[in-house]
């Protein structure tokens, strides 16, 4: 049954509304995308500031800056905000802006749900942060909030639970929206096998969001019931089970890791072909890898729990090592894309190449942890901190930066400065490695994660100082980025529709695109329709 809205042939002109009202009530996917990006980067800077405070505290043994309780809140909030309010939302933000453009649609399938799922994010994020005002401070049980530690804590922990339920709801809603948009609103000719890789990666991400996030929500509600309603799901003194929380959390948590990286893989797989003048090597293989990883990601969760001594080792170590196979395939395809290309080192390409170099380290150092007995030596040490940051910072954040430089002209109509972009890249690349590479060695020397302090004779001081110096270098690089954005936004918009010689449909419209996205939609006959158009023009 179709619902047809009655239309009047002549519409009264829209009343001019205040710009703030426009932005607060918008259902345009592009504006919502921009809101997502702005909100995500705001949380990125807050959570980054928390990281700087932690690094400053750890620069030397003893108390420098914050109390133990303060430190515990800092790492809890840093992890929570980075994962739930920066990395996932920033990818969803790019998805929001680009998916309708890349598939040649007018908007998302459910524009109002789209607006709702955005506005839930700042509400959830601020709820979590408001814990700082509660007695005893914000949540301080880590972003994984293992029970029963998470059953102690004060109101800050409750605010953390409520905030995450809200944020989780947002991601379930946007997952549904993406899936329907991608499956139902593609332009004529845009078959699934011509879908841009970024859209494929967001389709996989959305599946994970819809299937895994409800598990987290259920776990959070159980935790809340334990804390406030007298339940005993995770409390062993009354017959509950402490491992139940870990199973529930990681059954969500590992698909979550792939939610955080798939989008960045998509971005890099878009950018490498454009700046090497080649097609993406092995497009079907890349899609196959995405699909395999999405499916397998639900079978590896207990590799986070090897040290509990109470999981089925052969199964979980086998599935974990299995999932590294499609990941390896991605690397081969990326390298083969560069091979015999003509590489242009514009800032998006620099970050995409940096992504490959660093994500590889995150992949390789993860191999150690996939083997349970090796994991006994390094799990819960700084080795894991190094690993997660090589994956999520060296991987996703470099991918996000590549995406920012790549699509900034499309979104704002202005190209970011190339020179400042190069400074940003090199400072961040250097700072990142200086911060996180020494953490491998810190882990091997036995420094556990999540400690506010360490002994002067532990032999960890120098490596910690390196890491702290590196973190400030990262901060400087991000200031360069911020300056670049601010300076560029003050210039008049002058970017052409297709500044990079792109492949996908977003480059077929103006920068920025009109409200209805396309004045004229080019024909889609391959997965590089805009390049096809350029070739035809040359042939003519």
């Amino acid at each position: 049954m179709a619902i047809v809205e009655p239309r009047t042939t002549e519409r009264a002109p829209e009343p001019q509304r205040h710009w703030l009202v426009e932005w607060l009530t918008t259902t345009d996917h592009k504006r919502i995308g921009i809101l997502y990006l702005g909100n995500s980067f705001a949380f990125f800077f807050v959570a980054g500031l928390f990281a700087l405070l932690m690094r400053t505290e750890l620069a030397a043994p003893g108390r420098q800056l914050v109390t133990t309780n303060g430190y515990n809140q800092l790492f809890t909030l840093h992890g929570t905000l980075m994962i739930f309010l920066f990395i996932l939302p920033v990818l969803v933000g790019f998805g929001n802006y680009l998916i309708p453009l890349q598939i040649g649609a007018l908007d998302m399938a459910f524009p109002r749900i789209n607006a709702l799922s955005f506005w839930l994010l700042p509400v959830g994020g601020l709820t979590i942060l408001s814990g700082l005002l509660a007695r005893g401070g914000a949540a301080a049980a880590g972003w994984t909030s293992y029970a029963p530690v998470s059953e102690q804590g004060g109101a800050g922990q409750d605010l953390w639970i409520v905030g995450l339920v809200v944020v989780g709801t947002a991601s379930i809603l946007s997952g549904v929206n993406f899936i329907v948009t991608i499956l139902r609103l593609r332009a004529p000719g845009m078959t699934m096998t011509r879908l841009p890789v970024f859209v494929w990666s967001m389709l996989a991400t959305s599946l994970l969001m819809v299937l895994a996030t409800p598990v987290l929500t259920a776990g959070l509600l159980m935790l809340f019931a334990d804390r406030r309603l007298g339940a005993f799901f995770f409390n062993p003194t009354h017959g509950g089970d402490v491992l139940l929380w870990q199973h529930v959390f990681w059954f969500f948590g590992h698909p979550e890791v792939y939610m955080l990286i798939l989008g960045a893989w998509g971005v890099v797989s878009e950018i490498l072909p454009v700046f090497s003048g080649r097609p993406l090597f092995g497009y079907p293989g890349v899609i196959l890898a995405f699909v395999l990883i999405t499916a397998l990601s639900f079978s590896v969760w207990a590799h986070h729990m090897f040290v509990t001594g109470q999981v089925e080792y052969p199964f979980f170590s086998a599935t974990t090592e299995l999932i590294s196979i499609p990941t390896g395939v991605l690397f081969f395809n990326w390298l083969a894309t560069l091979w015999r290309g003509r590489l242009r080192f514009e800032p998006p390409m620099l970050f995409a190449l940096g992504f490959i170099a660093l994500f590889l380290i995150g992949g390789v150092d993860g191999v150690w942890m996939a083997s349970p007995s090796m994991d006994f030596a390094i799990h819960d040490t700084y080795w894991v901190v190094a690993h997660i940051h090589y994956v999520l910072f060296g991987g996703t954040v470099f991918g996000v930066m590549a995406a920012s430089y790549y699509w900034f002209p499309k979104i704002t109509g202005r190209l970011l400065s190339r020179k400042l972009g190069q400074w940003h890249f090199w400072l961040m690349f250097l700072g990142f490695n200086l911060t996180f590479f020494p953490m491998h060695e810190l882990g091997l020397r036995g420094m556990p994660r999540r400690v506010a302090d360490y002994l002067p004779d532990a032999g960890w001081s120098f490596l910690n100082q390196l890491a702290t110096a590196g973190s400030f270098l990262i901060a400087v690089s991000l200031l360069v980025f911020l300056v670049n954005v601010v300076l560029t936004l003050r210039r008049p918009p002058d970017a052409p529709p297709d500044p990079w010689e792109g492949n996908t449909l977003e480059w077929a419209t103006t920068s920025p695109p009109p409200v209805h996205n396309f004045d004229r939609l080019p024909e889609v006959r391959s997965n590089r329709p805009v390049r096809d158009g350029r070739e035809q023009e040359v042939a003519r």
Partner: protein, 341 residues
């Protein structure tokens, strides 16, 4: 050309050796096996790492855009099923080999010791450890923020550990053993190890367990058999030597999960009262009296209550002798002698 290749291989071997040096040698039989696995993974991973980064750098240098290459068409080959099969095959081979070797090491590390020379029960609590010597009949305990437990083990003798937690999840971790294992409330873990090197090893809790997680350190000394026997003797004697005299009403105060005293004294044959003051916000304690440490049935067991609060208990007279009191939540870490004179 050959010399160049040889020097390149030499370089890779050197790099592998340098990386292997980063990891500690295991101070136990099991830890050494894990160290060997670490080295094996380096041997497998280093060529992958160097290969991928090398090709990446090669592409960046060789295929960068140059003036001279402008105008020439760029290859548009995008691979087919054959390259896809190769791309899947390479990691599959590496992973299979790695999995099988890892399983072997795991079996060795997990194997329980049939005839342990020392049997320990180790309890984690917020925020310290208690180590019970099950066959020797004494324990060593740390006190939150005030005392790190120091305990000894004989070199070359297999040790069996039963690991538990009293409140939240903790983790027993000795970096030099290349080993960590969760201490889970309600789900005991068991493992064995055999120390191979005399020395003093630091350990600490590795699973975040609340406020003073970073202060949950302990010291494990691996000593010669003779030194170990002497230490056990001395520890046993010290456990029996606590004494004090009656002086007014009994007042117990718990702060940072530690009692204010390890010895209470009352006069025989008269009823007495104990006031228990719990200054630990949100944490439960109680007060219980046993005939001796390790006894199952208490002579008196007060209710658990969370701080900050105070309760006073009226007790019946006790015959002359030495008794043992503790907080049942935290066990020997919050215990002492009750002397009735």
């Amino acid at each position: 050309m050959a010399a160049c290749r040889r020097s390149r291989i030499g370089l890779a071997v050197l790099a592998a050796a340098a990386l292997a040096g980063c990891a500690k040698q295991g101070a136990t039989v099991q830890g050494q096996e894990i160290h060997d696995l670490y080295v094996l993974i380096i041997i497998l991973a280093l060529p992958v790492f160097i290969g991928v980064e090398g090709v990446l750098l090669w592409c960046i240098v060789r295929y960068r855009q140059r003036r001279t290459s402008d105008g020439q068409p760029v290859s548009q080959r995008a691979g087919g099923p054959r390259s896809l099969a190769v791309f899947f095959a390479i990691p599959t081979v590496i992973v299979t080999f790695f999995f099988l070797y890892g399983e072997r090491t795991l079996a060795d590390v997990q194997r329980p010791e049939p005839n342990p020379a020392v049997e320990l029960r180790i309890d984690g609590f917020q925020w310290q450890w208690t180590v019970y010597y099950l066959n020797e009949g004494f324990f060593v305990t740390g006190k939150t923020l005030t005392k790190e437990p120091v305990f000894e083990l004989p070199v070359g003798a297999p040790v069996h550990v039963r690991l538990e937690a009293r409140d939240v999840v903790h983790e027993f971790y000795v970096p030099d053993f290349l080993f960590m294992r969760n201490a889970l409330p309600g789900r005991p873990n068991e493992f064995s190890f055999t120390p191979t090197r005399i020395g003093t090893f630091r350990g600490q809790c590795a699973e975040f367990c609340g406020l003073h997680h970073d202060q949950m350190r302990f010291v494990l000394k691996v000593v010669s058999q003779a030194d170990y026997v002497a230490w056990v003797d001395q520890a046993r004697k010290a456990a029996q030597h606590v004494d004090c005299n009656p002086s007014g009403p009994l007042k117990l105060v718990s702060k940072d999960n530690s009692w204010n005293t390890g010895c209470l004294a009352v006069a025989a044959g008269s009823p007495f009262s104990v006031s228990v003051s719990n200054l630990d916000p949100g944490i439960e304690h109680n007060f219980a009296i046993y005939p001796k440490a390790g006894a199952k049935r208490p002579l008196f067991q007060g209710p658990r209550f969370a701080g900050v609060a105070e309760k006073t208990f009226e007790l019946r007279p006790l015959p002359k002798g030495r008794y043992y009191f503790q907080c049942d939540v935290h066990g020997p870490a919050m215990s002492g002698a009750l002397v009735v004179k």
